[in-house]
Amino acid sequence: MDFNDTKNEAQFREEASTWLSNNAEKKQHARDIYKAAGIPGDGSALNDAKNWQEKLYEAGWACLHWPKDYGGRDASPMERVIWSQEMSKYKVPGGYFEIGQGMAGPVLMTYATEEQKQRYLPPMAKGEEVWCQLFSEPGAGSDLAGIKTKAELDGDTWTINGQKVWTSGAQFSDYGILVTRSDFSAPKHKGLTYFFLDMKSPGIEIRPIKQITGGSGFNEVYFTDVKIPDSQRLGEVGDGWKVSLTTLMNERLAVGDASGVDFQEIFDLAKEQDFNGDQAIKNGSVREKLADWYCEQSGLKYTKMRNISALSQGSTPGPEASITKIVSANKLQDIANFGMDLMDSGSIVRDDDTSALFQGSLLGAPLIRIAGGTDEVLKNIIAEQVLGMPQDVRVDKNVPFNEIPTGTKN
């Protein structure tokens, strides 16, 4: 039992590390971020991110696991892990291309024509074109198959009407992947059809959503008679659910640790803050909480090591990775809340970096527990796909979609 690379892995790591050290600035602390990077929502760092991505692409470090023909490197899953481990040591811009490369890319790879792959995948890898994902709707989140955005075919052209929500980066995206309902009289999962489209098409209106953090990382996207050529359909008409599952499987792999305060921050804070005239960390109830969070953090770290180890030995990671988001998002929320407790009545004042960090994490945590699969959906995935427990009894299967109640009724 060890943490050592195999000979090939070590060689690859060396190559990655050498290139990075020549092209990027190393982090001083694990939590250093790229200076100019704002939140993806404001688009402020988009140019920096595009320049960096192009540099990666030219040197063969973009979308490592993709085929070379489409701008990748034909790298093994383990090489991809090593690359991301090495890159995480450097201050580099990012946050704009994950949805395209992580979700749209794999779907195009599976369902697009060869000509489309040649046209769209390399610019996606290069960061030249940004993609977004148009899935959730006001009446369909965890129950994604309940979407109502309507697609009607006339000749070779589809007309789209409806509304999407929670679309990250829609405002600066060039293309989007879109799931629609093309048949309202078919059962829920059978009437869906999947497309990709030009986000500059006439009839698309994008409105930012203001979140409880005050930021706007997401958008509502409205479709009014938007035209899509049938050639941009992915999968068969009515097969959109199957295509969506390909995307969602990749979403789960893309969503990892929650960002914000973690053990180190609360450990440091407990040393700085007073509690009954002594350092807070001397207090038994504080120590007990710290120990629980350390165990969770460590448990996730070594779960990742076990998964990487399995990958290194040739197996495929499964839905087991679902535990990461459940544990880290809840830990984030609880640490943020307890940190504010430690800062006592001063905690509600936003007067320094520390209080801002804890406040921001407390406000950011609720959405992290929801985005990319809610805690509840992830627990269903663990129970059904990892442990083999039966699905819930469904009242909406094999019923025409237009007879099923959806959305919010009061």
């Binding site: 039992m1 060890d2 943490f3 050592n4 690379d5 195999t6 892995e9 694990a30 973690d262 053990f263 180190q264 450990f267 960390i281 038994g284 120590r287 007990e288 710290l290 120990a291 629980d292 350390y294 165990c295 969770e296 953090q297 460590s298 448990g299 996730l300 770290k301 070594y302 779960t303 090591m305 076990r306 990487i308 180890s309 399995a310 290194s312 030995q313 087991e320 535990i323 459940i326 544990v327 509840e376 992830l378 627990k379 269903n380 663990i382 129970a383 059904e384 990892v386 442990l387 427990m389 039966p390 699905q391 819930d392 009894v393």
Partner: protein, 369 residues
Amino acid sequence: MNFSFSNEQILMQEEVKKLLDKENSVKRNRTILEGDEKFDEELWKSLVAMGLTATTIPEEYGGIGMGFLELCVIAEELGRGIAPVPFSSSVYLATTGILNSSNEEVKKEYLPKLAGGEIIGTFAHSEKTSFPDESGISVSASGNEISGQKIAVPDGDIADFAIVSASTGKNVGLFLVNLKDDSVAIETLDTFDPSRSHANITFNNAEGILLQDDAWSSIEKLLDQSAVLFAFEQVGGAEAAMNMAKEYAMGRYAFGRAIASFQAIKHKVADMYVSLQLARSNCYYGAWALSNDSSELPTAAATARVSATKAFYECSKENIQTHGGMGATWEFDCHLFYRRARLLSSNIGSQGIWKDKLITSLEKSNSPA
């Protein structure tokens, strides 16, 4: 990267599991729990025959010279089978304690017998009702004569000898005491989990062999080493309890369907799975630190111990809940796991002690993340 057990170790684990299944270890737990026997001697002999007591003992002392990693996978299976045998006392604690010491005579005399299962040892450390710190050891050593009382010593009425912590006046030393001696009084206790026997041991000027003088750091190390092994045992028990809950829920019908199809039950079992996975991964970290005698052992051991204690408690209590009323009957096996979870949490120090140790260790290393 190779952060996993080797194929040979996994094969060995499967052999131990097969043996415990064949011997019906869980049923044997109930027999000991309900009967007058202090442990299952037949099962103990099967484990000895398989060579498990000899695992970490070098060949020169009559053992088979494997490492702690092998002991980790054995521990997991003993936990899964809630085996009613003094393995943790004799192997994790007494054998490791002797292996750690530099007393060559004791090694030569005791290790071959421990390897062959001819004798059983234990670690007598607790006094009063709380787990002792260095100033809390009242059992005293005057020269080599040991006096005072250790309470609730696991397998204290089964063991042939104990490693005893005793105050020398200057510091705390570790002594080996023959428990069959007339100067030692053993009182079997009525306990929460009678599948493992416990006894108060009173020493009246009993003769001790000095294993180590000024031994407090050695005691801490022995506890850290055994904590990793206890944690594997707890993870084995937790997984067994989770699987019991899942199997029962899949076969139990209410409201016209398997209760396993209700999200209330699925989420409960998913929660068990999450706590189990965290504990298991921390145990791997503990196993790595233990087998490499790493300076990270205090942190790794406490992390493994705390999360495994939590996992076994959660899985064993929610297993009862999933079973409904029948889960709380004497007849069903759920309570055997619930009892064992509690027992293992109390042996070698409670959850509060280990959480405190963990934070102390992180404060010392100052590089927790």
